[in-house]
C-alpha cells in the first residue's frame, strides 16, 4: 500500500492582523529601495508559512537578493537558470513524491514555489513553465511582473507595456513611442492550454491580504497553480521609491492591471473600481512613458478599453502587428 502524500492546507487570512509577523524572507538583501518584486517575495514567503522550497530563476530576485554569498531565504532555496525554473521545480516535486512514497522523507509535501520574473515565466522560461503546468506537478509558479528584464538594466520583455522606454526600446525619430508591441497575456497562456491547472490568479502588491490568500489558495490545490503578481519597479519605471504602492493602486484604478481569479473555469474579479480613471493618469507618473504624445496615450487607452471588456479572456483586441502598421 502506497503512503499517501499529504500536502499543506493553508488557512485564508481575513485581515492584516491575521498575517503572521514572522518573516521567512528576512531583511538583508540588495534589492533597490521600494522594490516591488522584493515585496512580492516577502508576501509570498509569508503565505507559504515556512514548509516550503523556493526556486529562484536568474533575474532581479536572484541577483539582487543573493549578492556576495548571502541570501535572505529562511527556507530551502535554490538558484535555477532563467530558462529552467519550471523544470527544476518539476524534478524536486517528483523527488519528494517518490521519497515520501518510499518512506525516505517523513512529513507533508513542502510547498514548492518558483519565483520567476516575467522573462523567466513567459519569455525564455516559457517552455519550462508551461511543461511544469502541463505535467501537473504539485507546485506553484509565481510570475512577479516588473514588466522588464530589470536586473540587466531594464530591457524590454514580453510583459513590457506599449510605449515604455526601455534600454532596448529607446524612443527615437523613427520609433517615437519606444516600445511598439502590446504585452503577452500571461494568465491566458496558462489558462488556455493546461488541463491539469485549476487555479490561476492575478494579484498586486497594493492588496497584500488578497495576494497572500491567492498564493495560499494556489498552494492548497494538489497540482500546479499559477499566480501573476504585479510588482512595480521604481528604478525601471522611473518613479520615486516611496510610490510603489501608489503606482500599483493606480494601475488597478486605471485598468492597466486587473485582479482576478480563474478557478475551475470560473472568473471572479476583485478590486474593480466603480469608474476607471484615464490610463494617462497612470502613465504620467512614470518617466518611462514621458516621451509619449496624446496619440500614443489614445492608442494605449483603446487597448485598455478593449481588454477591460473581459480581462483574462480571449477576446479580439484591435491591435495591429508590427508589419501591419
Amino acid at each position: 500500500m502506497a503512503i499517501e502524500v499529504k500536502t499543506q492546507n493553508l488557512e485564508m487570512v481575513k485581515s492584516l492582523r491575521q498575517v503572521p509577523q514572522e518573516e521567512h524572507y528576512v531583511p538583508g538583501h540588495r534589492t533597490c529601495q521600494g522594490c516591488g518584486p522584493a515585496l512580492v517575495y516577502k508576501l509570498v514567503s509569508k503565505a507559504t508559512g515556512g514548509n516550503a522550497i523556493f526556486l529562484g530563476p536568474t533575474g532581479c530576485m536572484y541577483v539582487a537578493n543573493t549578492s556576495y554569498l548571502c541570501a535572505p531565504f529562511a527556507y530551502p532555496w535554490m538558484h535555477t537558470q532563467i530558462t529552467n525554473g519550471g523544470a527544476v521545480a518539476s524534478g524536486i516535486e517528483a523527488a519528494y513524491q517518490v521519497l515520501i512514497r518510499k518512506g525516505k522523507y517523513k512529513g507533508e509535501l513542502p510547498s514548492i514555489v518558483v519565483m520567476a520574473g516575467d522573462g523567466g515565466s513567459i519569455d525564455i522560461g516559457l517552455q519550462a513553465m508551461s511543461s511544469m503546468m502541463y505535467r501537473g506537478h504539485d507546485a506553484l509558479f509565481v510570475m512577479y511582473d516588473n514588466e522588464s528584464y530589470a536586473n540587466t538594466g531594464i530591457q524590454v520583455s514580453p510583459a513590457t507595456p506599449y510605449g515604455a522606454n526601455t534600454t532596448f526600446t529607446p524612443p527615437g525619430k523613427n520609433v517615437p513611442e519606444g516600445r511598439v508591441l502590446f504585452p503577452k497575456d500571461a494568465p491566458q497562456l496558462v489558462i488556455g492550454g493546461h488541463p491539469a491547472v485549476h487555479y490561476v490568479a492575478t494579484a498586486s502588491v497594493a492588496y497584500p491580504v488578497d495576494l497572500i490568500n491567492k498564493v495560499r489558495k494556489g498552494l492548497n490545490y494538489k497540482g500546479p497553480s499559477f499566480v501573476h503578481l504585479h510588482a512595480p519597479c521604481p528604478k525601471g519605471w522611473l518613479f520615486p521609491a516611496q510610490k510603489t504602492i501608489e503606482v500599483a493602486k493606480l494601475a488597478i484604478q486605471t485598468g492597466m492591471w486587473v485582479n482576478y481569479t480563474w478557478e475551475n473555469g470560473e472568473y471572479t474579479y476583485d478590486h474593480t473600481p466603480k469608474e476607471y480613471k484615464p490610463v494617462k493618469e497612470y502613465m504620467k507618473g512614470q518617466y518611462r512613458f514621458n516621451h509619449l504624445s496624446d496619440a500614443h496615450y489614445a492608442k494605449m487607452q483603446a487597448f485598455i478599453d478593449a481588454r477591460l471588456k473581459a480581462p483574462g479572456k480571449p477576446i479580439a483586441i484591435p491591435v495591429l502587428g508590427p508589419r501591419e502598421q
Binding site: 498575517v19 528576512v26 531583511p27 538583508g28 534589492t31 529601495q33 529562511a74 532555496w77 521609491a241 504602492i245
Partner: protein, 110 residues
C-alpha cells in the same frame, strides 16, 4: 593530501550551499543606504499595520507586548513607502544627519 590552499577570504561552501538565515541576513546590512529615515509618533499610531505589510525589507513589526510598531534600523533602506502609506500620518521623514548614529559609512565597497 590536497595540493590546494584556499585563503580564508575566498572560501566558499561546497557547491555554494549555505545554511539559511534565521531572522536576518547580517551579511548584507543595508541600513547605511539611507539618507532619510522614518520616525514614528507612537501616540498617533493606530497600528493599522500598513507599514508592516508594505515594507519590502521587512523592517516594521508589531511588538505584541507593547502593542507598538518596531523599526529595524540595521536594514531600512529609507524608501519611505511606510511614510507614504501611513493613513494616520504618524510617520515622518527625517534627515539622517539629525541622528547621532546617522549616515553610517560603508566599511567596504559592497
Amino acid at each position: 593530501m590536497s595540493r590546494f590552499i584556499i585563503p580564508k577570504h575566498l572560501e566558499v561552501p561546497l557547491g555554494a550551499c549555505l545554511p539559511a538565515p534565521v531572522k536576518e541576513q547580517p551579511g548584507m546590512i543595508t541600513g547605511n543606504w539611507r539618507t532619510e529615515r522614518p520616525v514614528i509618533d507612537h501616540e498617533a499610531c493606530t497600528t493599522c499595520l500598513n507599514c508592516f505589510i508594505y515594507c519590502p525589507d521587512a523592517c516594521w513589526h508589531l511588538d505584541e507586548k507593547t502593542e507598538q510598531m518596531v523599526w529595524n534600523a540595521d536594514y531600512c533602506k529609507g524608501c519611505m513607502i511606510c511614510v507614504n502609506e501611513c493613513p494616520a500620518n504618524c510617520l515622518s521623514t527625517v534627515n539622517e544627519l539629525e541622528f547621532p548614529d546617522g549616515v553610517v559609512r560603508l566599511e567596504k565597497p559592497f
